[in-house]
Amino acid sequence: MTERLANCIKGEREKAELTQAALAERVGVSRKTINTVENGVFTPSATLAIKLARALGLSVEQLFWIER
């Protein structure tokens, strides 16, 4: 059985009226990184997951979950 890390970054980012570039600036990464994490292409490290959750005012568990 395969597992993947799903997320709701796009929805939460749009709710906060942030562009990918604006969120990238808040977190301190490139826009590409935000784009690939949002699309599930790249699985972020724990450090980046925490930074993303903080930037969007959520907990890591609210932003990321494991999908089977």
Partner: protein
């Protein structure tokens, strides 16, 4: 222009540059296998390959560790793309070496220098093209 925008622009140019260098390395290697080869074309091939290899390393971050743009050009997803493409480069050169060994066993003749050129080009060019394509896909 913000650091994010500048990093994005530089990253796109880097990807296109890698594609061009990859194509140039393969073209020069192919030319060197033919009768028109010379020390000059071999030197050009070596230069293109060295330039390519340097682009596969995080040189900018080593040279300017405190630069915001250099850090953005070498963030988590870039490091992952670099790792994946270097893995692919390893397999590219390994498979090429196996194919050459099989070809040499069936009567094909190649000089040691030509074999080295083909294997090195296959490894570096496949890694570069993979890195460039991964970066361009991420930037979409």
């Amino acid at each position: 222009m913000t650091a994010i925008e500048l990093a994005e622009r530089k990253s796109r140019w880097r990807a296109f540059g890698l594609l061009v260098l990859g194509a140039l390395s393969v073209a020069l290697m192919a030319f060197n296998l033919g009768p028109g080869t010379s020390d000059f074309t071999r030197g050009m091939w070596l230069g293109a390959l060295a330039g390519s290899a340097v682009n596969l390393l995080p040189v900018k971050r080593w040279l300017r560790p405190n630069s915001a743009v250099a850090q953005l050009l070498e963030d988590e997803s870039v490091r992952e793309n670099r790792r994946l493409s270097c893995n692919l480069g390893f397999w590219g050169s390994t498979v090429t070496a196996i194919v050459i060994a099989a070809a040499l066993g069936s009567g094909v003749t190649l000089k040691a220098l030509e074999v080295a050129e083909i294997i090195a080009t296959a490894g570096i060019a496949s890694a570069m093209v993979a890195f460039a394509l991964l970066e361009l896909r991420a930037a979409r």
